[in-house]
C-alpha cells in the first residue's frame, strides 16, 4: 500500500530513542508488556491504518499496534525484551511517516481525557436515572395515587439519590471552588436547585405527599451534562489537533568533542560546546560561527524574509535554519539563556499582566444568584406572614429555587460555543478555549505580522511563464541542489511549467552569492547581480537571481514573498467591520511599505524587534483597545501573549502556536475575518439565549411565588426553555458568515498519489519555513 502522505521534511533529524530517554514515554501494559504511543501527524486517512498497522504488527514481539485517527497517534504494545521502541520509529520512518514519541502527561492530554470520560460517565448515569424516573413520574401525573404513588416516589428516590450524588459532582465541585474564592458562578444556583429539589422531594415522599421533584432534579442534570460534555469534547479535539503540530524541532543536536561528533539532546547543550549544524537543520542554541560560510533563514525569528549571510565571527541565534553549507558554531548561550528562552520569559510576563477576563455568563451569575435567592427568601417570609405555616412557606420558597435553577442559562453559552467552534473546526480553525470566541467578538484592533502571516513566508517566482524554457531548465538544474528559498522557488516554478532541470556537473554553492556549475562545457551562474558581474541592484536586494552563461546575462529572475491567499479580502473585511488594522514587521521598510500599500493598511511599522511589537500591542491596550494579534514567528510570541486574544497559522513556530489562542490550519487568511464574524454572530446568539432564559424566569417565577408549581409544570417549563435555547444555538449554523469553504473531501481517497499536495490543508503537518 502506498503511503498516504509522505513526510514533508525527511531531513528532520530523528530523535534517538534508547536507554533512559525512552523510559520517559513507555508505560506498562500488563505483566511483561510495555506500551508506547507515537504522534504521527500524517496518519490522517484510512490508507494509513492499512499501511501502519500490518507493518508494525509484523515486527517480532509486537502484541498490537493501533492507529488512532482522531488524535493522529499510534499505540504499540509489545513483549518486554522482544522489541525495542527504536524499531517502531524506524518502521514508521521507512513507511514515510514522521513520528515522535508521545507523553500522555504532556499538555495535560491525560487529565483532559480523564475529565472527558468522567463527564461521559456522569451523563450516562443521569440519562439512566432521568429515563426511569420520568417513566414513573408520568404515571403519577397520569393519576396514580395512594399506595401506588408512594411506591413510585420511593423507587424514584432510590434511583435519584445515588444518581444526583454521582452525576452532580462536576457542578458541586465547581460551585464549591467558586464559593471558596468568594465568587459566584452559574454552578452555584444549579447545585443549590438540584440539591434542594432532591432533599425536599425526599421529605415529601416520607410524608406521603402528592408532589416529588426527583424528575426535575435528574433531568436538569442530564441536560446540563449533555451541554458540558459536548463543549468539552469540542475543545479537547481542537487542543489535541494543535498539540500534534509540535514536530521534532531541535530536540537533538550534534556536538564535536575531542574530535568526535556525538548526538546529544538539546537540553544537554552547554556554553562553549562546539555545535555542528547540518544544512536544513535549525540551531538549537545561540552561538558564534567558528567555521563555514552559509546563509541562515531567520524568518521565524526576526520576520526578515531574505536569508542572512553568516561567516566566522557572526553571532547566530537559536531557531534559525541553516540553508546552504554546514556550519561549526561555538555555543555562547544554551537552554535558559538563549534568545528563544529570553522571549519565552517576555511572554510569561506579558501573560501575567493580562487582566483576568470574566466571561459574560459568570458576570450574569453574579447578579442572577443573589436576585433569585432574594426572591426565594421573600417568598418564604411572605407565605409565613400569610399562612403561618412553615411547611407551606418552605415548600414554596424551594419551588422558586427549583424553577429558577438556571438550566437554560447554563446551556445558553455551551450550546452556542459547541455549534460555533464546530463550524470553525470543520474549516480548520481551532479555538483553544471557550472564552476566546467571546473575546474575538469584542476585538476592535487587529495587529498583523508580515512574514509568514500576511505572506506565506515563501518566495515565489514572478512572471514564471515568461521565462524561456532553456533559461528555466538551466536555472532549475542548478537550483535543484540547493536549499536556498529562492532556488526552491525556481524549482517549483519549473515543475509547474513542466520543464525538466538541465543536467549539471561540478555544482558549487557559494553562500551569500549563488550557485555555479558546468553545463555543456560552459560555466553557468545563478545568483545575485554583483557576483554574476552585473553590479548591485538598487532596490529589493536579495529578492532576485541573475542567470549568466560564461558571464553573459540570460535572464533575471525576480521573486516576491507570496501573499497569503485571502489576505486582501480579510483585511478589507476587517476594515469594513470598523476595525483598526495595524501591520508590525521585523522586515525591511521597503518590503513592509510595499505590502501595506498592496493591502491598504495605513498604519505600519517596519524593523520591529520582539520588544517593540510587545510594547506597541501593550500601548494599544493601554489606550483601551482590545487587540487581536495575528502572528506566527518566535518574535511575535510575546505580542501574541500580550494581545487581548491572538491567532496563529499552523505553519507558525512552536512558540507562536503555543502562545496563540486560536490556530488556523488552512492557508487562507480569511480564517481571521471568518472567525471574527462568526464570533460576533455567536455572541449575539448567546445574548438572545440569555434573553430567552430570563423571559422564561419572568414568567415562571410568579407562578412559583404564588405556590402553583407542580412537578408537571416544572418539567414542562424547564424542558421547553432548554429546547428553545438549544434550537436557537443550532440556528447559528444557518447562514453562518463564513467564507472559507468546507474541505471538499475531508479525507484523501484510498491510495492516492504520494506526491499530491492538494490534500494538505486539513490535518497537514506544519510546513517549516524553509
Amino acid at each position: 500500500m502506498t503511503v498516504c502522505c509522505p513526510a514533508p521534511g525527511t531531513d528532520i533529524p530523528v530523535v534517538p530513542l534508547t536507554g533512559d530517554e525512552a523510559r520517559h514515554w513507555i508505560t506498562s501494559a500488563g505483566p511483561g508488556r510495555s506500551r508506547i504511543e507515537f504522534i504521527v501527524p500524517e496518519a490522517n486517512c484510512v490508507a494509513c491504518i492499512g499501511g501502519i498497522e500490518p507493518s508494525l504488527n509484523a515486527l517480532p514481539g509486537v502484541v498490537s499496534a493501533r492507529v488512532n485517527l482522531t488524535a493522529q497517534r499510534v499505540a504499540v504494545v509489545w513483549q518486554d525484551g522482544a522489541a525495542e521502541p527504536q524499531q517502531f520509529m524506524q518502521t514508521l520512518a521507512d513507511l514515510g511517516y514522521t513520528a515522535r514519541p508521545f507523553d500522555p502527561r504532556e499538555n495535560g492530554v491525560l487529565s483532559e481525557q480523564e475529565e472527558g470520560k468522567a463527564l461521559l460517565r456522569a451523563l450516562a448515569v443521569a440519562g439512566f436515572a432521568a429515563g426511569n424516573i420520568m417513566l414513573l413520574s408520568v404515571s403519577v401525573w397520569a393519576g396514580a395515587d395512594g399506595a401506588t404513588r408512594d411506591l413510585f416516589h420511593w423507587i424514584s428516590a432510590l434511583i435519584a439519590l445515588p444518581a444526583v450524588m454521582y452525576a452532580g459532582r462536576p457542578f458541586f465541585s465547581s460551585a464549591l471552588a467558586a464559593l471558596r474564592h468568594g465568587r459566584v458562578n452559574m454552578d452555584v444556583p444549579i447545585s443549590l436547585g438540584v440539591l434542594l429539589a432532591t432533599v425536599m422531594s425526599l421529605y415529601e415522599t416520607l410524608h406521603h405527599a402528592e408532589h416529588a421533584f426527583f424528575d426535575a432534579a435528574v433531568t436538569l442534570l442530564f441536560f446540563l451534562l449533555a451541554g458540558r460534555t459536548l463543549d468539552h469534547m469540542m475543545r479537547a479535539k481542537a487542543r489535541s489537533a494543535i498539540s500534534n503540530l509540535t514536530l521534532l524541532m531541535p530536540q537533538a543536536a550534534t556536538i564535536v568533542e575531542n574530535g568526535m561528533a556525538r548526538i546529544v539532546p538539546a537540553a544537554a547543550l552547554k556554553q562553549d560546546m562546539t555545535l555542528l549544524v547540518a544544512v536544513g537543520e535549525r540551531l538549537a542554541a545561540d552561538g558564534v560561527v567558528v567555521q563555514g560560510v552559509s546563509e541562515l533563514d531567520r524568518s521565524v525569528v526576526t520576520g526578515e524574509s531574505v536569508p542572512e549571510l553568516v561567516q566566522p565571527g557572526t553571532e547566530v541565534q537559536s531557531g534559525t535554519m541553516n540553508l546552504s553549507a554546514p556550519l561549526t558554531v561555538r555555543i555562547t548561550a544554551a537552554g535558559q539563556d538563549t534568545f528563544i528562552a529570553e522571549l519565552m520569559s517576555l511572554m510569561a510576563v506579558a501573560e501575567q499582566s493580562q487582566s483576568h477576563y470574566v466571561q459574560l455568563a459568570d458576570r450574569l451569575a453574579r447578579h442572577y444568584a443573589p436576585t433569585v435567592h432574594t426572591v426565594a427568601g421573600a417568598t418564604l417570609l411572605g407565605w409565613l406572614a400569610y399562612s403561618h405555616n412553615w411547611h407551606t412557606a418552605l415548600m414554596n420558597a424551594i419551588a422558586v429555587l427549583i424553577i429558577t435553577c438556571p438550566c437554560a442559562l447554563g446551556l445558553a453559552v455551551p450550546a452556542v460555543q459547541v455549534v460555533a467552534t464546530g463550524l470553525l473546526f470543520r474549516r480548520g480553525i481551532m479555538v483553544k478555549d471557550g472564552a476566546v470566541l467571546e473575546k474575538l467578538s469584542l476585538v476592535d484592533t487587529v495587529v498583523f505580522d508580515k512574514t509568514g502571516t500576511l505572506t506565506l513566508g515563501q518566495p515565489v517566482l514572478l512572471d514564471g511563464r515568461d521565462v524561456a524554457p532553456r533559461a528555466m531548465a538551466l536555472a532549475a538544474g542548478l537550483a535543484q541542489h540547493s536549499r536556498h528559498p529562492l532556488s526552491r522557488a525556481v524549482l517549483r516554478a519549473a515543475t509547474e511549467a513542466g520543464i525538466a532541470p538541465a543536467a549539471v556537473s561540478a555544482m558549487q554553492e557559494m553562500p551569500g552569492c549563488g550557485l555555479e556549475a558546468q553545463v555543456e562545457g560552459k560555466t553557468v551562474r545563478l545568483g545575485n547581480r554583483l557576483w554574476c558581474g552585473l553590479g548591485e541592484a538598487p532596490d529589493a536586494p536579495g529578492m532576485e537571481f541573475a542567470l549568466t552563461e560564461n558571464g553573459a546575462l540570460i535572464h533575471i529572475f525576480s521573486f516576491e514573498d507570496e501573499l497569503r491567499p485571502g489576505a486582501a479580502a480579510a483585511v478589507s473585511r476587517l476594515k469594513a467591520a470598523d476595525l483598526r488594522v495595524v501591520l508590525l514587521s521585523g522586515d525591511r521598510p521597503a518590503a513592509v511599505a510595499r505590502l501595506a500599500g498592496l493591502l491598504g493598511i495605513d498604519d505600519y511599522h517596519a524593523r520591529q524587534t520582539p520588544q517593540d511589537k510587545l510594547a506597541r500591542v501593550a500601548a494599544l491596550q493601554a489606550e483601551g483597545r482590545k487587540v487581536l494579534m495575528v502572528g506566527d514567528g518566535i518574535n511575535d510570541a510575546p505580542a501574541l501573549a500580550a494581545g487581548f486574544t491572538s491567532m496563529a497559522p499552523a505553519s507558525a513556530s512552536d512558540v507562536g502556536r503555543v502562545a496563540a489562542d486560536t490556530v488556523f490550519l488552512g492557508h487562507s487568511l480569511l480564517a481571521v475575518s471568518d472567525a471574527r464574524a462568526l464570533a460576533v454572530k455567536a455572541q449575539k446568539t448567546v445574548k438572545t439565549n440569555f434573553l430567552l432564559a430570563l423571559v422564561y424566569n419572568a414568567l415562571a417565577v410568579p407562578i412559583a411565588v404564588l405556590g402553583f408549581v407542580t412537578p408537571l409544570i416544572a418539567a414542562v417549563a424547564m424542558s421547553t426553555s432548554s429546547i428553545l435555547v438549544v434550537a436557537n444555538a443550532l440556528l447559528l449554523g444557518w447562514r453562518a458568515p463564513l467564507s472559507i469553504p468546507l474541505p471538499a473531501a475531508p479525507r484523501p481517497p484510498v491510495g492516492h498519489k504520494p506526491e499530491d499536495d492538494s490534500m494538505m490543508p486539513l490535518n497537514a503537518p506544519p510546513q517549516a519555513a524553509e
Binding site: C45, V46, I49, G50, P54, V67, N68, L69, T70, A71, K117, L120, R121, A124, V125, F128, G131, N132, L135, L136, T148, L151, I155, I159, R747, V750
Partner: protein, 61 residues
C-alpha cells in the same frame, strides 16, 4: 397493580444492563477514536481467498 411487580424491575434491569454496557465500552476505549472506527470498516484487510478447489471448478463447468 400486579403487573407492576414484574414490569418495574424489568424496566430497571434493562436500563441497568444498558448502563453497564455503556460503562464497559467507555472503559475499554471504544469511544477514543470515533473517526478511525468510521473508516476501518472500509479497510480492505481481507485475507486472500483460498485457491479454488476441484469442487468449485466442477460446479462451474
Amino acid at each position: 397493580m400486579n403487573t407492576l411487580v414484574f414490569l418495574i424491575p424489568i424496566a430497571l434491569l434493562l436500563g441497568a444492563v444498558w448502563l453497564g454496557a455503556f460503562m464497559w465500552s467507555l472503559k475499554s476505549g471504544q469511544y477514543d477514536d470515533l473517526e478511525g472506527a468510521a473508516w476501518r470498516i472500509l479497510n480492505d484487510d481481507d485475507k486472500p481467498l483460498p485457491p479454488p478447489d476441484k469442487d468449485d471448478r466442477s460446479r462451474k463447468s
